[in-house]
């Protein structure tokens, strides 16, 4: 199913876009999303393993379901303050 993911900071720069549409299975987890992102945007490879995945306002675990969500975001480690 088509799933839109927002991107921020260096992830957005590397992808060249603030959002991507991925095609995920109905049972896809955050781990699957990470793999799909790497395939879709090879430029993300250097930071792929460190990317954080958010579902709504919460950080996702690798097993967190993501398919069909409309509030997904992917970004590198934070550096506010």
């Amino acid at each position: 199913m088509k799933t839109v993911v927002k991107l921020f900071a260096r992830a957005r720069d590397l992808a060249g876009s603030p959002a991507l549409e991925l095609d995920l299975s109905e049972s896809a987890t955050a781990a699957d999303l990470r793999l799909a992102l790497g395939k879709r945007v090879p430029a993300l490879e250097p930071i792929l393993s460190s990317l954080l995945i958010a579902v709504g306002n919460d950080y996702a675990a690798p097993t967190t379901p993501v398919a069909g969500r409309t509030d997904l975001a992917v970004f590198p480690p934070v550096s506010g303050g």
Binding site: A9, P46, I47, S50, P76, V78, S79, G80, G81
Partner: protein, 147 residues
Amino acid sequence: MIQLTHASIDFAALTESVRSTQAGAVVLFLGTVREMTQGRQTVALDYDAYPEMAEAKLKELEAEARTRWPVIEAGIVHRLGHLELGDISVAVAVSCPHRHQAFDAGRFLIDRLKEVVPIWKKENWNDGSTEWVHPGTDQPVAAPSKH
């Protein structure tokens, strides 16, 4: 008060907003744009955020601080966009009955903010290059700057 803003942070107003006759102590923390980081020279910073999640996480942090210390009032304001040297990037104000509570709660809020709130800064170095600061990632250049 939890706020993300593109305007200058009015730290005096934030501090006034947490004062209370129930509190004997107020602690204010300001993060400001420092020029030198490990021998490299910054000319400006750009801050970006995932605003909805950042505000939600800031509210969570305030709520957690209130469970751990007798916080009377607390406020956190983070600036976004382009900041020059010396500008205030973040302000955290907290009031408690006693001073060590206020110090501990204030330090907790800024420490956790830097760990979990989805805000990112991009260095503008004096050689004209720019670089996102992403702690723990294998960046080509310098280590991340920290307050």
